[in-house]
């Protein structure tokens, strides 16, 4: 049974239990009248819950619903009493006023949260205060009685059906629930809803107007508030200034009970309905028992906490079953620490380390020895497992098997604090700096020096930080916030941080990827000093030159496996490359090149495209069947160019032509409609909608292809999935499987499939093989070959030189945002490209 179905049954079960308890304890509870009362009482918050569910799924929240009802009710009452206290016209005016005012408030919320990107919590909280104030003004703090019988009828009418009394709210409630269920299930609305909620950036990059959609959900909620107003005012025969007070929290509680996550992307209308049923039953029962209102609050509060907790308990119980590991040797951190204090040269030994993520092994039986007084390089392609290994040493990840030992004494490293205590410092590739804190605060983060064990000794820490900064020749005040530093300076702060930590082992993950050559020399000087002092350094880098300049030993990993450890003095670049890439080095990326007639009219052309701070004006063209490579270092402007072409960023200048026609791209949606597709380098953030199924992920970029009329045709959706699943050999259980369960390579194939389903004229692939295994790499390149043969124009962006060299017909090289070289595929060499990539660097 799926987790969702289980939740439904559990909720129904709890409702049944409450019903049974109330039936025994309260006279007349088990009667048709209860049903009537239940509907009457819960109608308003059930209607609102539908809107709230939509808002919460897209990652927002609406705290203004209660105040919204009060305000629109007050306005409607005033208008109705002015237009015609008794006439049908007056009632109509009142209805219109309720709906219009409410929808307008929803629209303002939508603009604030959707288009201006203000935190939904803050915006709607302020809106709540504003509406409450306005209501008090309109009503003058007293209730406004309405006499219009037509309007009252809407809230009060009831019909007898057999033994059952059906209140008028059913007329509102049932159609809205059915309509909403239908919209979510049958229209592309549902697919877009979960896409925006699951990953708004990826949805935007797939041509969905995320901002507009978020706006829409708030407008819908506003409109539903209008309906709720009619019911509320009609039933009470008056507009009350304090109507709807605290209603938003009841509504949110019901929605959360129904399984909607406040983090967005998860939840169903059906679940919300059951949540409302539960809330309604509890409230009704407690009111009838006639006990203290105290219990009502306590039970509601416990329900919220309990429902969410229960979910987590189920999840953690499941993960308990998966756990297995048992350390082979008893670890003794204290003993190791004592040993560290006694000796001054140490050895960290990793033996038989295993690690897997959701069943996919990323490290297999790695054994490695890191000695003091030496610089140990760790090499391997992207996805080889270097970063995972580092995170196991530093305690961010826990190993599944194997042992870590220092000086022969096994140690347990369960957190970053553990590894720090044992004298291990790590400089991460993605910086672990806090932008809001200054340099000194960052340098001592987590290990601050204190007076009386309480107050920070700021001057002392600043002085010491200054010392390290001087060593690194970093000339800036230690009280500057890290946010204001350049990337290169931030990297140096990371290094200073490691130096200040009293460690004997420093792990550096790509420390030179973001710094200038001059800074690199300072860094190397520091590394040599550390080495002389007996410290051990683990150095991760892709740059061969650096390995040979600074390192003593080098270990190569490939696809999570240990390949070899060599002395740097006894190896060569060629040997290392061979070890890193394995046998298939030549045939992974190589494709049969079709000769493209350069005289032929280009499919796509840009002229003087530029974006300030990203890249200088650039002009180039791509022909049908041609693969154009964009090469250069990270941050050279390659991705930024692609983003401007696809409409994710706005260029400052430049013109573009597609098939000879000038085009103006302002959003991904427009780019897609013109036949330009882009597969992002950042699969997690701009590619997949993690929690949604493969089927949904694949059809996202062109929803019209799965429509029959304007309704989603599940057959077509299935067929689309089948087509690409076979074509791309996507390894999945079924189309219903959530995409996050797939391996990186299969996820990437899905992202590619999503774009190819739009039948693009121009396809831009940004690092299409980053972080995926060799087999999948090869398959993706076979697909590229096939697409080129089918006369698609392709732009390929990659940091891996073999990929660029093997796959491209023509190569543009960028450095610091400007074009520094153009090569024909046949005459390009690694050296030539690297020279251009470093050209103009300071």
């Amino acid at each position: 049974m799926s987790a969702q179905a289980m939740r439904y049954w559990i909720l129904l079960g709890i409702v049944a239990v409450f019903f049974a308890v109330f039936s025994f304890t309260i006279n007349n509870f088990a009667s048709p009248m209860t049903v009537t009362n239940l509907i009457r009482q819960s109608a308003v918050f059930t209607i609102l819950s539908i809107g709230m569910t939509l808002v919460i799924i897209v990652g927002g929240i609406d705290l203004s619903v209660g105040a919204n009802i009060a305000l629109s009710g007050a306005v409607a009452a005033v208008i109705m009493n002015a237009v015609g206290p008794e006439s049908a016209g007056g009632a109509l005016a009142g209805i219109l006023a309720s709906v219009l005012v409410s929808t307008a408030i929803g629209a303002v919320n939508g603009i604030l949260c959707g288009y201006l990107g203000i935190s939904a919590f803050m915006a709607t909280l302020a809106m709540q205060t504003f509406c409450k104030g306005l209501t008090l003004m309109v009503t003058n703090s007293t209730r406004i009685v309405i006499t219009n019988s037509y309007y009252k009828w809407l809230g009060n009418a009831q019909w007898k059906l057999g033994g059952l009394v059906i209140p008028s709210s059913v007329v509102f409630l049932v159609p809205f629930i059915i309509l909403c269920l239908w919209c979510v299930k049958k229209l592309t609305f549902g697919i877009r809803l979960y896409a925006v909620g699951g990953n708004a950036r990826a949805a935007h990059a797939s041509g969905i107007n995320s901002k507009g959609f978020i706006f829409l959900t708030y407008v819908i909620t506003g409109f539903l508030c209008g309906i709720a107003t009619i019911l509320t005012v009609g039933r009470a025969s008056s507009a009350q200034p304090l109507a709807g007070e605290g209603l938003e929290f009841t509504v949110i509680t019901a929605v959360v009970l129904g399984g909607t996550s406040l983090l967005g992307g998860v939840g169903t209308i059906a679940g919300t309905f059951l949540g409302c049923l539960l809330m309604g039953t509890i409230t009704l029962g407690i009111n009838m028992i006639n006990i203290s209102v105290f219990w009502n609050y306590i039970i509601k509060g416990l329900c919220v906490l309990g429902a969410v907790l229960a979910d987590q308990t189920v999840a953690s119980a499941r993960s308990l079953f998966r756990k297995k590991e048992k350390p082979l040797l008893a670890a003794d951190n204290e003993k190791a620490l004592a040993a560290i204090r006694e000796n001054d040269r140490h050895v960290l030994e990793l033996s038989h380390i295993d690690k897997s993520f959701s069943g996919i092994p990323v490290l297999k039986d790695i054994s490695l020895k890191i000695e003091g007084g030496r610089v140990h390089a760790l090499m391997g392609e992207n996805g080889a497992g270097k970063s995972t290994l580092i995170k196991i040493i530093s305690g961010i990840y826990q190993k599944d098997g194997g042992t870590l030992s220092i000086d022969g004494i096994p140690v347990d490293i369960h957190s970053a604090a553990d590894s720090q205590k044992l004298g291990i410092a790590v400089i991460y590739q993605e910086f672990a700096l806090i932008p809001e804190l200054n340099i000194a605060q960052n340098a001592f983060l987590g290990k601050e020096k204190r007076k009386w064990n309480l107050f920070l000794s700021v001057p002392e820490m600043e002085k010491e930080t200054g010392k390290y900064m001087d060593l690194l020749h970093l000339r800036t005040s230690v009280t500057r916030k890290v946010r204001d530093l350049s990337v290169s300076q931030q990297q140096m702060v990371e290094i200073a941080k490691a130096m200040g930590s009293d460690s004997w082992l420093v792990v550096m993950d790509e420390p030179t990827s973001a710094i200038t050559d001059a800074d690199k020399e300072e860094l190397f000087k520091v590394i040599r000093e550390m080495k002389a002092a007996g410290m051990a350094i683990v150095y991760v880098s892709h740059r061969m030159g650096e390995i040979f300049e600074i390192c003593d030993d080098v270990t190569v990993l490939r696809d999570g496996e240990y390949i070899a450890t060599k002395k740097v003095s006894e190896t060569t670049e060629q040997e290392l490359t061979r070890l890193m890439v394995g046998r298939e080095v030549n045939d992974v990326f190589l494709r049969e090149k079709v000769s493209v007639d350069q005289a032929e009219e280009p499919v796509f052309k840009v002229e003087n495209l530029s974006r300030r701070g990203a890249f200088d004006p650039i002009s180039f063209e791509v022909r049908a069947g041609e693969v154009l490579g964009l090469s250069g270092l990270m941050g050279a402007g390659r991705t930024e160019i692609a983003r401007c072409i696809f409409g994710l960023d706005r260029p400052d200048s430049g013109r573009m032509w597609l098939n000879g026609q000038e085009i103006h791209i302002t959003s991904p949606k427009k780019a897609l409609s013109q036949g330009i597709c882009y597969v992002s380098e950042d699969r997690r953030r701009e590619g997949i909608i993690p929690l949604r199924s493969l089927k949904e992920n694949i059809c996202l970029a062109d929803l019209s292809q799965i429509l029959k009329g304007f309704v989603v045709d599940e057959g077509k959706q299935e067929a689309l999935y089948e087509e690409y699943q076979q074509k791309f050999r996507i390894k999945a259980v079924s189309g219903e499987q959530p995409i996050e369960r797939l391996s990186g390579g299969n996820q990437q194939k899905c992202c590619l499939a999503r774009m190819l389903a739009c039948r693009p004229t121009l396809l831009i692939l940004d690092e299409p093989t980053r972080g995926i295994d060799v087999g999948a790499k090869k398959e993706i390149h076979q697909l590229i070959e096939k697409m080129a043969k089918e006369h698609m124009a392709i732009i390929l962006i990659s940091s891996e030189l073999p990929e660029i060299l093997g796959a491209c017909d023509r190569i543009l090289v960028l450095s610091e945002g400007s074009l520094t070289g153009t090569f024909q595929g046949s005459e390009a060499t690694e050296e030539g490209i690297m020279e251009c990539a470093f050209a103009g660097q300071s």
Partner: protein, 326 residues
């Protein structure tokens, strides 16, 4: 993404200047409408009236900087005030007991929030939403049908007394709490951790910070601030009522946010929160002098908060454009 960054104006500094500008403008308007606005008596009065809200805003600042939220603040204040007042009165009006109980019950509330958030891994919104409802229930249970007055002279002194005959005690209490908050935020490990948690929790963990323990402490601290706010409120009102909390959660969060604290976490200062509290206080003070009806005041307050948020958002958007990132 681009690895480059352009020189961007330091935002909070500008934000701070804008805030001081708004405050100055409001004070000018207030002075024009009422010549005695700038009199020391009135200025101290503004601080006195807003002391409890200000203390609560200080607590909220900590929680918001960690990227969390505390919805139980308003109802929590009422609960703390009501329960401790009842115990205080029924055990013979000892003032020290009221003070101790307020802080104690506050920290219990904070610990429960902290426990739910760190140990049970609930979202702060959900955990404090649940506690909000439960606090309301306890208030009703404790206060049902009771009318109770606080008559101890020491409590009246906390509520309306003047230190050295001039400085309102509430003002002094607020300033003391602000100083305390500043010391904690800027001069202790907990303060540094507060920023680290809200800015990048994973990075904070990488640096060896015990993130859940620090987060727990923040919520306990916030609970104590709510306790102090409850003490100030109930001693000023001199009577228990289920409406003591009122709009205080909204006001506290608004004061912090107007003062430049981000609801996304990572950003915020004590100075900003004090200015935010003053902006709301002066606004209400000026509106009262202008004889704007109370009902309209609350609408205007909401509008001002909305405008402040929108200006801030537009400003951020503008700056993003300028720095070349969409």
């Amino acid at each position: 993404m681009s690895d480059r960054k352009n020189g961007v104006l330091r935002k909070p500094d500008l934000n701070r200047m804008i805030n001081i500008g708004i405050l100055a403008a409001l004070m000018c308007v207030a002075t024009i409408s009422n010549r005695s606005f700038l009199s020391p008596g009135n200025l101290l009065g503004v601080l006195e009236q807003n002391a409890a809200k200000g203390v609560m805003a200080l607590g909220a600042t900590f929680v918001l900087i960690t990227g969390g939220i505390d919805l139980s603040m308003g109802n929590g204040l009422t609960m703390i005030a009501v329960v401790s007042s009842i115990l205080h009165v029924s055990t013979g009006n000892r003032a020290w007991l009221l003070v101790a109980l307020c802080v104690l019950i506050g920290s219990v509330l904070g610990s429960v929030n902290g426990f739910l958030i760190t140990k049970c891994r609930l979202l702060p919104f959900v955990a404090t939403l649940g506690m909000m409802t439960i606090a309301e229930g306890i208030t009703h249970w404790a206060s049902e049908g009771k009318i109770m007055f606080l008559s101890s002279p020491a409590v009246s002194y906390i509520g309306r007394g003047k230190v050295f005959g001039v400085l309102p005690f509430q003002t002094v209490a607020f300033l003391f709490m602000a100083a305390l908050a500043a010391v904690i935020l800027y001069r202790t490990r907990l303060g540094t951790a507060t920023y680290a948690l809200g800015s990048n929790e994973a990075a904070a963990a990488c640096c060896g910070i015990n993130t859940s323990r620090q987060k727990f402490k923040i919520y306990v601290l916030n609970g104590m601030f709510i306790g102090v706010a409850a003490l100030l409120t109930v001693s000023r009102v001199g009577q228990i009522s289920p409406n003591l909390g009122g709009d205080s959660m909204m006001d506290a969060i608004a004061a912090a946010v107007i003062g430049g604290t981000s609801t996304m976490g990572g950003r915020g200062t004590i100075g900003g929160t004090i200015i935010g509290t003053l902006i709301i206080g002066v606004l209400i003070n000026a509106l009262t002098f202008m004889e704007v009806p109370v009902n309209a005041q609350s609408a205007i307050k909401g509008l001002v908060i909305l405008i402040a948020i929108v200006v801030d958002a537009l400003f951020t958007l503008f700056q993003k454009r300028k720095s070349g990132k969409d």
